[in-house]
């Protein structure tokens, strides 16, 4: 469990990116922070592994103040996956995956063995292990990024718009892959995105953020969809538009679900 208590982040230029945020991120679930740019979602994520230092407030992991820990050690215990993979271009795929275990002192041969298994886990062929990142496609690089994030078997995995830079088809594949991996591994995942569809797809809990890291609404996707608490939330999730504003029409004695324009999307099973 990760807990923020009245946490504020003020950057040196005076911008308040996060203003008195209080938030509990439950263990072994996927929590998605979603918001447009300037909502402070990435700042919140990076405060968890202290890549961004808080200005005030408390941040605890499993009841332990993260400021009581050495930041380098803290980061090695938390997986991190970022946009554009952030792979080290001068190291082969396999060496990228073993980065954190090797930093933690695991023997290289042993770490490599485990890394090959991880390549299987993220759906990559083992023959790619000896390639350099630039020789892989964007989607493959992102998979390596996920494997690297999991390599030290961390309890917590931070994902900063990890699928933001790949094309829609690959993104959809990666999302399904992540859902599968999470079903198997049950990590505490904190996932940042600006894409509400991605948030609803992946999140057990979705935290919708407004400017300054203020929580507009927090809950399961179904809770947010069924009862948006403000116009901001309703607009952001597109509750009144297109694919979300579904109606039921009776056709041939069955309930057919249609969207705003009357195009059928499926049949209700009763």
């Amino acid at each position: 469990m990760i807990e923020f208590r009245t946490v504020t982040k003020k950057f040196p230029d005076g911008t308040v990116a996060v203003d008195e945020l209080s938030l509990v991120i439950p263990a072994r679930q996927t929590t998605v922070l979603v918001g447009s740019s300037g909502s402070g979602k990435t700042t919140i994520l990076r405060m968890i592994n202290r890549m961004v230092e808080k200005t005030s407030g408390d941040i605890e992991i499993d009841g332990e103040d993260i400021y009581a820990l050495n930041p380098v050690k803290l980061r090695r215990s938390i997986g991190y996956v970022m946009q554009n993979s952030g792979l080290l271009p001068h190291r082969k795929v396999i060496d990228n995956v073993t980065t954190v275990p090797v930093l933690n002192g695991v023997k290289k041969a042993q770490a490599r063995e485990a890394a090959l298994t991880l390549l299987d886990t993220v759906g990559l062929d083992r023959s790619l292990a000896e390639r350099y990142p630039s020789q892989l496609s964007g989607g493959q690089q992102q998979r390596v990024g996920v494997a690297r994030g999991l390599a030290a078997d961390p309890n917590i995995l931070l994902m900063d718009e990890p699928f933001g830079a790949v094309d829609p088809i690959v993104r959809s594949e990666l999302q399904q892959e992540l859902i599968r991996i999470q079903r198997d591994l049950g990590k505490t995942i904190v996932f940042v995105t600006h894409d509400i569809d991605e948030a609803f797809l992946l999140g057990d809990q979705v935290v919708l953020l407004e400017k300054g890291g203020r929580i507009a609404q927090q809950g399961t996707p179904a809770e947010i969809l069924s009862r948006p608490t403000s116009d901001f939330v309703a607009t952001f999730i597109g509750a009144d538009r297109g694919r979300r504003a579904l109606r039921v029409e009776v056709v041939n004695g069955r309930n057919v679900v249609v969207d705003e324009d009357g195009r059928p999307t499926g049949v209700l099973q009763s």
Binding site: P89, R91, S134
Partner: protein, 249 residues
């Protein structure tokens, strides 16, 4: 060709002297430039100052420097140390900018990723930033290498043995072959050094061949370096001073 054939021993021993004088400044210049370039890149305020100072160093004419150094260092006037120190100063002058530019060219996303993985600042520099700066550093080092090999000759004017002796002696005695052999031997050293550096790059930076962004960065540096030490980068921190110095040397 007679002169060359009759003096192969002399040419060879002067070539060895030349190499012995050129290698230490290239290595020392590189090593000294790393911390200076790091500071220039790390602290915004120091960048302009350090790059200007190092750029100005290159404008000090070499002949007076070789004559002044014995007085400053307390060495003998014929001591090769003078030439080594002088050439190291020029190497630093050229290399500091390369180091600063090379480090600045390291992708910020990769640096952040390294931090997020749990590299300490020291580990991150040596295992991530420095290797990634490699292609641009190598490009800078190649310029330093050529410049140093050619400047070693000046040492002959103050009596430190190098291939420069062949130009001086050949001119005085009007032996064109002797002058030409000095020029050719210097060129050969420069080319061999350059090939060795490229080879070292191939071995040490195998990833750079695969990485299109590294190739682009390297090409750009070579272009700006060839255009002159102050031709690259922004106009703000660039003293437009290097051209007169080249003329004076």
């Amino acid at each position: 060709m007679n002169w060359v054939v009759n003096n192969l021993g002399l040419i060879w021993s002067l070539t060895l002297d030349h190499v012995a004088l050129a290698v230490p400044p290239i290595i020392l210049g590189f090593l000294i430039s790393i911390p200076i370039g790091w500071v220039a890149n790390r602290f915004h305020a120091s960048r302009g100052v350090l790059l200007t100072i190092s750029g100005l160093l290159y404008t000090v004419p070499s002949l007076p420097l070789f004559i002044a150094l014995p007085a400053i260092l307390g060495t003998g006037i014929l001591d090769p140390i003078n030439v080594v120190v002088g050439l190291t100063i020029y190497a630093v002058a050229l290399m500091v900018r390369s180091v600063a530019d090379a480090l600045a060219a390291v992708d910020a996303g990769v640096r952040q990723a390294a931090t997020a993985m749990g590299y300490s600042a020291w580990q991150r520099f040596w295992r991530v930033e420095f290797p990634l700066a490699g292609p641009v550093l190598l490009a800078g080092l190649r310029v330093v290498s050529v410049s140093t090999v050619s400047l070693v000759s000046i040492g002959s004017v103050v009596g430190v043995s190098s291939l420069g002796y062949l130009f001086l002696n050949g001119l005085q005695r009007n032996i064109i072959e002797e002058v030409a052999s000095g020029i050719v031997a210097t060129l050969v050293i420069a080319v061999v050094f350059d090939l060795l550096l490229v080879l070292a790059g191939r071995v040490l930076l195998p990833w750079a061949k695969a990485d299109p962004t590294a190739r682009r960065a390297r090409r750009k540096t070579v272009e700006t370096a060839i255009a002159g030490p102050s031709a690259g980068g922004s106009a703000v921190d660039d003293p437009a001073v290097s051209d007169p110095s080249m003329a004076g040397r």
